[in-house]
């Protein structure tokens, strides 16, 4: 029993007892969760299960970023919200659900969305970042800011019956989003759930797996998906794990001479780079 100096109180020991008695996890890993913080960007299809499971697991401080309000057509996949929350700000609705699940954690909300001029500062305040956004400009912005702030990024995406999951900006050689995709796809190639549709449970699977990766990063237990991409075909029931390249020395965000820095990022034009305006109605 490595129960010394873990800093957990009696209620925490009881609440998290099923994780604490797990040999491969234990009280020290639980204490790291309780001391840790995660920023979830997007309180939609991916952010819903990610926020619920991270709050339940006992992550000490959760930040939730969104700028939209709940609509009835969101709820088929955004299960953290309720019918009664239609019209309520998504970050507030999600935060309320997290607090109802676990009043012992701190939940902070950011109602303006992530922008180039607040991204690095906001991301620097958290240990692990979860990209639960729904559009290309925000995905590049999050990845760049994680490079600048040196924060590991759990990236998930879902559309139709397909999902993807990986960890960027982690460890010695983990790539960032730009290392993989230095050039943005043409705007016409970027399907969003609003336009193309999505089977509700698909972002549910990916968002839950994002919570898992965040737990592993914070607790130090298990192997994370750095340099591995999980691609899920939910219709076929196929799970595909692929090996990714290392970070690129030439990358303008995480390479040896980055041009995207704390000083330059706020004025980077993500809309022009991707040909799309940011939206965050995940």
């Amino acid at each position: 029993w490595d129960g010394m100096h873990h800093g957990l109180d009696k209620e925490q020991i009881s609440r998290y007892s099923r994780q604490i008695i797990l040999h491969s996890f234990g009280v020290q890993a639980q204490a790291r969760l309780c001391r840790g913080s995660v920023l979830i960007i997007g309180a939609g299809g991916l952010g819903s299960p990610a926020a619920l499971y991270l709050a339940a697991a006992g992550v000490g401080r959760l930040g939730i970023v969104d700028r939209d309000v709940v609509e009835l057509s969101n709820i088929h996949r955004q299960v953290i919200h309720k019918e009664a929350s239609v019209g309520v700000h998504k970050a507030l609705s999600a935060a309320e659900a997290c607090r109802a699940l676990n009043s012992s954690i701190l939940v902070e909300t950011y109602l303006e969305g992530l922008k180039p001029d607040n991204a690095v500062e906001l991301i620097s305040e958290y240990d692990v970042i979860v990209d639960a956004s729904d559009n290309a400009p925000t995905r590049y912005l999050i990845s760049d800011a994680c490079c600048v702030a040196r924060r590991p990024l759990v990236s998930g995406a879902a559309i139709g019956t397909d999902g993807q999951l990986t960890v960027y900006c982690h460890g010695e050689d983990g790539p960032c989003y730009r290392c993989l995709f230095p050039e943005s796809p043409a705007a016409g190639n970027c399907a969003r759930c609003v336009d193309a549709g999505v089977l509700g449970v698909v972002p549910g699977v990916i968002g839950t797996l994002q919570a898992l990766e965040a737990v592993k990063l914070l607790s130090g237990v298990g192997d994370t998906l750095s340099r591995r991409l999980l691609a899920i075909d939910c219709a076929a029931g196929r799970f595909h794990s692929v090996k990714l390249r290392a970070k690129s020395p030439a990358c303008i965000a995480c390479g040896t001479s980055p041009t995207i820095t704390a000083a330059t990022l706020p004025s980077y034009d993500y809309a022009a780079f991707t040909g799309q305006a940011a939206a965050n109605d995940a």
């Binding site: 991916l46 993989l180 190639n189 759930c193 991409l229 595909h240 692929v242």
Partner: protein, 89 residues
């Protein structure tokens, strides 16, 4: 790449060896796929002689960047996969 291959996600194909070439490359396999498998809008798949931005090319489940990109050799039984980055959430 679902749309591009007529809603079939896994396509097994015998890519013919081109005469005069020693070894089939990913580049040649891609060009062949574009000309023989694509049912619509090939510009969503390739850009010039390489793949369009936002598509990850895999040879046997490994990022082609680790195998030599366009010049990566492919042999009988090898699997070349194209994965589009997704943005939805």
């Amino acid at each position: 790449m679902e749309l591009l291959f007529g809603n079939q996600k896994v396509v097994e194909a015998d890519v013919p060896q081109q005469s005069g070439e020693q070894q089939l490359t990913v580049a040649a396999a891609m060009a062949w796929a574009r000309d023989n498998l694509l049912t619509e809008r090939p510009e969503l798949f390739m850009k010039g002689s390489s793949v369009r931005p936002g598509v990850l090319v895999l040879v046997n489940d490994t990022d082609w960047e680790l195998c030599g990109e366009l010049e990566a050799a492919v042999a009988d039984g090898d699997r070349v996969t194209f994965i589009s980055t997704l943005h939805g959430g």
